[in-house]
Symmetry: C2
Subunit: 454 residues, 2 copies
Amino acid sequence: MQSNINCFFSAKSVAVVGATTNPDKLGFLVLKNIIAGGFKGRIYAVNQKGGSVMNLQCYKSLSEINEVPDIIVVIVPSSSVLNVIEEAGKLGVKGAIIISGGFGESGNNELERELVELSRKYSIRIQGPNCQGLIYNPNKFCASWPLVSSTGHIAIIAQSGTVGAEIGIRAQEEDLGVSAIVSLGNKSETNELDFIKYFSEDDNTNAIGLYLEGVTDGRRFIELAREVTSKKPFVVLKSGRTPQGKQAVQSHTKSLAGMSQVFNGMCRQYGIVNAKNITEFYDLLKGFAYLKPPKGKNVMVVTSSGGSGALAADELSESGLNLIRLSPEIEKDIKAALPKHCIVKNPIDLTGDATPLRYKEIVSKVSEDKNVDIIFVVFGDPFPGVGEAISSIRDSIEQTLVVCYLGGGEVQKQERSIMHRNNIPVFSSPEGAVHTINKLVEYSDYLGITRKEE
Amino acid sequence: MQSNINCFFSAKSVAVVGATTNPDKLGFLVLKNIIAGGFKGRIYAVNQKGGSVMNLQCYKSLSEINEVPDIIVVIVPSSSVLNVIEEAGKLGVKGAIIISGGFGESGNNELERELVELSRKYSIRIQGPNCQGLIYNPNKFCASWPLVSSTGHIAIIAQSGTVGAEIGIRAQEEDLGVSAIVSLGNKSETNELDFIKYFSEDDNTNAIGLYLEGVTDGRRFIELAREVTSKKPFVVLKSGRTPQGKQAVQSHTKSLAGMSQVFNGMCRQYGIVNAKNITEFYDLLKGFAYLKPPKGKNVMVVTSSGGSGALAADELSESGLNLIRLSPEIEKDIKAALPKHCIVKNPIDLTGDATPLRYKEIVSKVSEDKNVDIIFVVFGDPFPGVGEAISSIRDSIEQTLVVCYLGGGEVQKQERSIMHRNNIPVFSSPEGAVHTINKLVEYSDYLGITRKEE
């Protein structure tokens, strides 16, 4: 029986087999990123030619290292991979991340079969082959590219290195970060099920994102999904929805898609959040990792940009969400607290001369209305200080607090970083925020936490 | 009769009335941005208190300046605006950008009426009041915030300062730039029609983007739109599509929306490109400003990321575009030119070991197939050199060349900048690119340039 895959996430030592001084090679880039990511454990470089790489002695083989590394990263020609795994297995290495291609994806099914056999023989877990590696930021482990070392609470599992990287880059650029990125590659010995299971139990991960081309085992996938979605949000982007997409998927990962309607139905039935494209995938992960599911669909918009407020109102309305009217008492209080030129409807428009304090006061006041389920704050313009203002009241607000920021340039970036460091997700467009709110409301329904009176 | 509005775009001198040393005030920020934007003309600061601001002498009134500035930017309390305009009018100032609020939007309709009367009396054109200013990069004139000085060929006219700023910021961050951003404000004396007309004749502008809450004059809007769309693309994002959005719009700019179906029909009929949200608005402007309308809807995808290719194939297929099969001869040539592990279907997958040269060769080869109308290149991973490679063959390609780049981190940013400087737009998501392709195909139909045999 195989051991579990914890080795990939708690490794105290790693050897990069195929480390090289040639900066155009992945054996260079991956070692560089492991070092630059600040890996807490011991790092070894292995290359049969010896020498040194990035100030590390280069061992000619794994056996030469004076300890057995917990895991290895393999970036050698496919013809040498089996030898490396055999050696590692005999030594007692627990896991191998095999980046090398040239297996099933190139028609070399026999080679891939032998790889899996070896892995079983020596109880060495395999991620890949033909993958873009693995990042796990709680362990400061970045055996992938590009370097995504900004730590957050989203774990991404992707049957495409590019899709995983793209989400990681977006999260890093916005100081939101990720907990993990796993590139599945050929799914030879481990597959999406192993990693979904791991992240469902990982305290560093609030939401799991999966980019999938084909499901390995439909029945087990459903069982696992059902278990996961009762614990934490599970967002899936699936390609192969159309005949043309299916053909592309089959060429890419030999996956059999061809079940898009079945898949959509399954998502609804088991509380899986279904993303329709890359942009929505990122927005949904951002929202679900940090926002509590709302108690209903009553939304109050607070903005300083009339135009963004109008766009938000259209999007909310088109999504079937309810732009609630405040209770008369609270509306009266808010009117009294605001200059005459502000507009107290829904949206509440604090107008362009709004201040962080005005935002803070009004959002707090709105939160006193218990018929409001979601407070949707849309910042326009540069407003230094709003990040701190919103962060300071977040814990006292019972409602789901959704923030969007537009048109603020450099100030917006600063304030967004402050909010992201305080675990308040900030959306870049009204429509992105509203699509997320809509899916959050659906998830509340699935979990059965929607208010009774609705 | 009023003179034309060219003064705003060709000013050789500007005075900021309400310039101040207080960095929290717009009178500081706008003057700072005019200077930082590198305005080619003479800059004057006016403040009744005198003194100096940012190393400029501060004149106590416009009359004290030893020339008559072409235009003025007004940022004083609303109660003083009429005096400023009267003085400017008497002096012969040609135009005033009035940022000050406190007019019709606050219920002071009488004050706004008097403003328009004054403007007519002295033939001084007014932009605003209650607006976020004006940017025209060919004249290096940035009387707005934030500073958007990156020069490109998109002109934005917006009935919301935040929406205009957001598009400008996105374009600046990607080194794509804009030609202009005009914030309409209350549309007292000038309105969208004046600026649409101006940009339709402006050689520095390839595509016009309009964010609109309400049309000032429906009939003239249609006449003008029809004239514009035969010359250059005209992209419109309209809010007030739903009852809730309409109410928000009415609160914001007192516009009467309430014609969303009529508006959609009008767009179809007159070749207006209808954007449905902020993200699409930006993507469409990016595409339409730089891409030639395709001769048909046959798309060939070339990628190095199987996953992104599959997502692109799904999106293309769902949009009703045609993933064409290459002619047998060209397919044969391409197979011969590529390593065995590459996949020559549609998408063509050059796989993760692709090089700029491989991209260049294959895209060139694909362009020999005259049944292909659109070549859609989807880069995955860091690929230094692809920007240069694609730029070098662009002029020899007859087809519409659409580029998307995902997952490439810092390298992606560099390469995107290179392509943007070479007027090749780069999309950040397959879906954004595909929505744009779809609208380009519709525009070709409108223009009647679609191939006959289709």
